[in-house]
Amino acid sequence: MKKLIIETRHLDLFYGSFQALTDINLGIEEKNITALIGPSGCGKSTLVRVFNRMNDTIEGVHTNGEVEVLGENIFGPEADLIALRQKVGMVFQRPNPFPLSVYENITFGLEIHHSRSKKEFGEMVEQSLTDVMLWNDLKDRLDRSALRLSLEQQQRLCIARVLAMKPQIILMDEPCSALDPIATLRIEELMQELKRNYSIVIVTHNMQQAARASDYTAFMYLGNLIEFGNTKSIFTKPVQKKTEEYITGRFG
C-alpha cells in the first residue's frame, strides 16, 4: 500500500447553517488518480476545495473534523496556507488563465514562491509547457495573450502553471467540462503521464471518465461519502445499493 497524502477524519462542512459535507472519512494514496463522482450538488467541489482550503474565500464556511494533507493538519494553528497551496495545485472547471502572456502565466507562481533568476524562469517555462505538450505549439508565441489560445490550450496552460510551482498534489474540478470529447481524451492522456510524478484528485460528473482515467473512485451523495475503493471494483461490483443505482444510470 502506498503512502496516504490526504486523510480526512469525521469531516463536516457547513455553508452558514447548510451542511454540505457530513462525516467524510477518506484516505487518498500518492501517485494515483482518485476520482470523486456523484450527482450535481452532492459536494464534490466542496470537498476538493477543502484540500487546499479554497473554501476560506467563501464567507460563513466552517468545518469540523480533521484533514491531513501531506502529513500536516491543514486546520491546525500552524497551517501555512501559502505553502499548502504551493504543494497542492488546483485546476478549475472553466479554463482560467490570467489575462497575461503565456510566459507570465507560468512565471506568476514562480515569482510568488521562489525567488529564482530570470534565466531559470525561462527553463521552468519550457519545462512545464513541455510537460503539458504545449511547448512546440507555443514556443514562438510566449508573449501572446493567453486568452487567445484555444480552450484546450488554455486548460493545458492552467495545468502547466500549476506544475511550474512543483506541487505534489493536483486537484482538478471537472477540468474537461468546457472541452470537446477529443480534447477531453487528450487531457486524460496527459493525466496518465502526470500521475507518475504527481498525485491527482479529479472531480467529474462523467462516469466514463472516472472509469477510464482513475485508479480509485469515491462516490458521494448528498454530502456523504457513500463508497470508496478501487475504481474497477466500484464499477463492476459496487457494495452499496446507491452506488449501483448511480453507476447504472438510474439517477444523477
Partner: protein, 290 residues
C-alpha cells in the same frame, strides 16, 4: 397586434431621434465655435495664436498668444493628475478589494457626495483655506498659485477616477482571483499583479475622464490660481488657464470683435483637447468590455 407594432416602431424612432439629437447638438456647437472663432486666424496666424508668448487682448495693438494659457492649463492639470491619479487608483483598489462591506458602503457614499459638491463651493473653500496655507507654507506673496489650482482640481477629479476605476476592478472576473489565490498568492499579490492588471484599460479610462473633467473645469480654477496670464516657471506662481480666460473676459468683449473671436478660438482648442481625451478614454473602456 398591429397596434403594438406601431407602438414599437414609434418608440424605436424616438430613441433613435434622441440619440441622433445629441450628436446634432454637439456638431452644432462645434460649428458655432468655428463660425465665431475662425475669423481670428485672418489677423493672427494659427502658429502665432498657439505659440506666441503674450496674451494682451486689450492693449494696442492687441496680442493674442495663448501659450501662457496653454501652459497654465497643462501645469494645473498635470499637478492635479499627479495628486489625484495615485490616490484615486489606490482608493478604488481599497474600496473594491480590501474594504469590508460596511466601510465600502460608507466610502462609496462619501465619494458620491464629493462629486455632488458644486465646483464653486470647492473653489471657495480652496480660496479661503488652501490659498493662505500655501502662502504661509512657502512664504509667497500670494497663495493663489498653480499648486492651489492643482490640489483643488484633484478633489474634483478624484470622484470620477475612483468610481470608474472601482467599477473596472469589480468587473474583473472572480475566476482570475480564484486562480491566483489557489496558487498561494497573497491578497496583495492577487490584487496588484492580477486584478489591477486585468482592470488596467478601465483604470486608464477612469484617469482620462477624470483629467477631462479637470481640463474643462472653470469656476474653481478661476478662484484659486491667481489668474496671471504669464508663462509660469514654477508651480508656486499664479497662472491662468484656458477656461478661466474665456469665463473672465467674455463679458468685456464686443460681439464680433477680435477679442471675442480669440476667446471662441480658445473654445475650439478646448473642444479639441477634451474630444481627444474622451476619445482615448472610450477606446480603453471598450477594450475592457471585450
Amino acid at each position: 397586434m398591429h397596434l403594438r407594432k406601431v407602438k414599437e416602431f414609434i418608440i424605436e424612432r424616438m430613441i433613435f431621434l434622441s440619440g441622433i439629437m445629441s450628436i446634432i447638438i454637439v456638431a452644432l456647437i462645434f460649428i458655432f465655435l468655428l463660425k465665431e472663432g475662425l475669423s481670428i486666424f485672418w489677423r493672427v496666424p494659427i502658429s502665432d495664436f498657439l505659440f506666441a508668448r503674450n496674451w494682451y487682448p486689450i492693449s494696442d495693438p492687441p496680442q493674442f498668444g495663448i501659450l501662457p494659457l496653454i501652459l497654465g492649463s497643462i501645469l494645473v492639470t498635470a499637478g492635479a493628475g499627479v495628486i489625484s491619479i495615485p490616490i484615486g487608483i489606490a482608493s478604488a483598489l481599497f474600496i473594491a478589494e480590501i474594504a469590508p462591506r460596511k466601510t465600502k458602503e460608507v466610502l462609496k457614499a462619501g465619494i458620491e457626495l464629493l462629486a455632488a459638491i458644486p465646483s464653486v463651493v470647492i473653489g471657495f473653500i480652496g480660496m479661503v483655506t488652501l490659498g493662505p496655507f500655501i502662502k504661509d507654507l512657502f512664504h509667497l506673496s500670494t497663495g493663489l498659485t498653480a499648486l492651489s489650482g492643482s490640489i483643488t482640481l484633484a478633489f474634483m477629479a478624484m470622484p470620477t477616477i475612483v468610481s470608474i476605476a472601482e467599477d473596472a476592478i469589480t468587473a474583473v472576473p472572480r475566476q482570475y482571483r480564484d486562480a491566483a489565490i489557489a496558487m498561494g498568492a497573497t491578497k496583495w499579490q492577487t490584487t496588484w499583479r492580477i486584478v489591477a492588471h486585468a482592470a488596467r484599460p478601465g483604470m486608464v479610462a477612469a484617469v482620462m475622464l477624470g483629467i477631462g473633467r479637470v481640463i474643462g473645469e472653470t469656476m474653481a480654477v478661476m478662484m484659486v490660481t491667481g489668474n496671471a496670464a504669464l508663462i509660469p516657471h514654477s508651480i508656486l506662481q499664479p497662472v491662468r488657464t484656458l477656461t478661466a480666460t474665456v469665463a473672465a473676459e467674455m463679458g468685456e468683449t464686443v460681439q464680433g470683435g477680435e477679442h471675442y473671436a480669440a476667446l471662441f478660438a480658445i473654445g475650439i482648442v478646448l473642444f479639441i483637447i477634451t474630444f481627444l481625451i474622451n476619445g482615448v478614454a472610450d477606446i480603453y473602456l471598450h477594450k475592457t468590455k471585450k
